[in-house]
Amino acid sequence: MKTIEKNKVITVALAGNPNTGKSTIFNALTGGRAHVGNWPGVTVEKKEGSFKYNDQSFSVIDLPGTYSLTGYSIDERIARDFIVRKRPDVIVSVTDSTNLERNLYLLTSLIELGVNLILDLNMIDIFEERKGEIDIKKIEEALGIPVVLTSGLKNTGIEKLKDTIIKTGGKNQGYLKIDYGPDIEKAIENVELQLAGINSPYPKRFLALKILEGDIEIIEEIKRQGFDNAVQAGVYETSKLEKEFGFDLETEIIEKRYGLIQSIVRRSVYKPAYAEEKLSTSDKIDRILTNRWLGIPVFALMMWITFQLTFTLGGLFADYIDAFFGWFSGLSSGWLKEINAPSWISSFISNGIIGGVGSVLIFLPNIMILFLLLSFLEDVGYMARAAFVMDRIMHAIGLPGRSFISIILGFGCNVPAVMSTRTISSEKDRLLTILINPFISCSARLPVYLLFTGILFTKNQGLVVFSLYTLGILVAVLSAKLFKWTIPILKGPVSPLVMELPPYRIPSALGVIIHMWERSSLFLKKAGTIIFAGVIVIWFLASFPLSAEYAGEASLAGQLGKFIAPIFRPAGFPFWQAAVALFFGIIAKEIVVGTFGTLFGGEGKLAAVIPVYFSQLSAYSFMVMSLLYIPCIASIGVIYRETNSWKWTAFSVFYSVLAGYLTAVLIYQIGSFLL
């Protein structure tokens, strides 16, 4: 075991089952902003932070949740690889104290791995509320590791945890040895003998057990080091045991671990026979929300309410923002006149900044409300239920229920949605889930809808926006069917659903607001960077050559747009401004709105200009195109990163352009025929 020198940074990893509060503890330790949510699988990537305590620096790593060190899916492999390969100085095993037995299974693997461990019994607030009692001394003695009680929510026990981390930092711990019974112990011993002299940071006993458990990665590693004998010994011992006793060795090993945990927990934890009524509130809600007949209608209703609130409530604020920009542009133009600014500067400010960026920012309240509602769904514990409720329908489409979580996340932003597929263990299910996600209408499309529906569909704005969301889902579903049917590697049975359903919790208002603000501030940052840059480019192209009229056909923007525009004739919007908007919308879909703002001379004028160019039908077709065509640059990037394939990334881009164009044309043509 390593000892820690003075002044060295101590690395601390947070490991544990999903949804036990690792990210919450991470935030409490480091003051960080790791994403927290009440469903398993929130964290899918390791996140680093740091803190200082008693002059000692610590580096903390928040890991994805995992039930074991087996590593079925990518997020679990990230956790496993970090623990097993990077060997942090201390591992804090974060557990849910209300569910100790199940939670301690992972701990037994960590103990056998021989790392410096601290057991953190988190959610102690809930445990105490239920009048449970824990004898810490007994658990410490039984397991041979320090135990700390924390509540990430109430922020208690964090100092004690820091203290314990320092004390455990370089200490060689006396580990508990799990006794697997004489027969299996003999087998472990025999395999261990064959491992004499192996160069590995892990105890030989751990390696021997992994061989007997048939852990592929560890076996490969051992073979690489030329210890094939040990592997053969493992195979021999396994078949001998299984023949002699007629049990499955892997099963037997796992059951022995549970047996030990059970006896420890029985001795040291007292839980009152559970308060039926209290506990079952969550169950009662579940009987309704996950009911065969009610589950899906309830979900649809919730989504409908979400979108309704998003723009009715958001609309309330729009006037204020409108007034603000009106005031601001009046002020700035007055000021610019006063200082006799050259005309290109005033054009830049009024068209570029106020017109371009302002026309996007005006939708900030809507976006904030959408994020607020999505955060609420996450924190209240509904996400896992949605996956569960939709499981059957998703299966019919050819997707696992888990994919549904990425669909809901997609309403916020497709980037984290694509990343969330890491929890899907089957590669083909994961790929399919990634490929359909860009059709889910993210918050960046919302400004486009709100701009057009606010001007052209004032009577039935809600219905029109909802229809676009539905259309996105429909295209995703049909594409999934099509891919499943035509692409050979996507064929095959869908992996079944097993998912922990966390208890419903009433989220704290502050928590939801922080959560919402984190995402909204990303939107603001985007407005200040990418959207701003895009708008400057458009303003520039609209202003040059100087001989041409601003935003006229002869400007560079006009020439570019006129080159593309004819292809959009069948879709109903064959003018160059729309072409330019779609062209730059690839960078970020909000730029579609920003472009109109810049080219048509500001947000205030849009209400008058848009109806000149668009009919209701062509506006709808344009919104459909904006929804479906090409994922934005950030999404393309994350699709590449997650599929690790240019081929699939290119496929996604081309397919979506085609799907968007064809759907828009179809809608326009059928519409013109009918109307």
């Binding site: 039930y67 037995e101 199940r102 569960f388």
Partner: protein, 80 residues
């Protein structure tokens, strides 16, 4: 009998699991292993099932529940 046929509100003991190695191991690691006592929380027929393990609730998709064999426990709720 398979878990699919179990009535909500009753307790059962897991006797065996069927399926691939990976499938079984995953369930074991989540706490569903032979000998463990489950409570069926919701089961609306052939659809998915929610089981309770202590205070944890686990949702099992359609195909899954049918592979978990249980026997009824003749113990009233709340009494061990």
């Amino acid at each position: 009998m398979p878990l699919t046929y179990c009535k909500p509100g009753e307790q059962f003991q897991v006797t065996s699991l069927y399926g691939g190695q990976g499938f079984i191991k995953r369930l074991f690691e989540m706490g569903i292993h032979p000998g463990v006592i489950l409570k069926v929380i919701a089961n609306s027929g052939k659809g998915p099932v929610i089981v309770g393990l202590d205070d944890t609730r686990i949702g099992l998709g359609q195909g899954m529940a049918g592979k978990i064999m249980v026997k009824p426990l003749n113990i009233k709720e709340g009494v061990r």
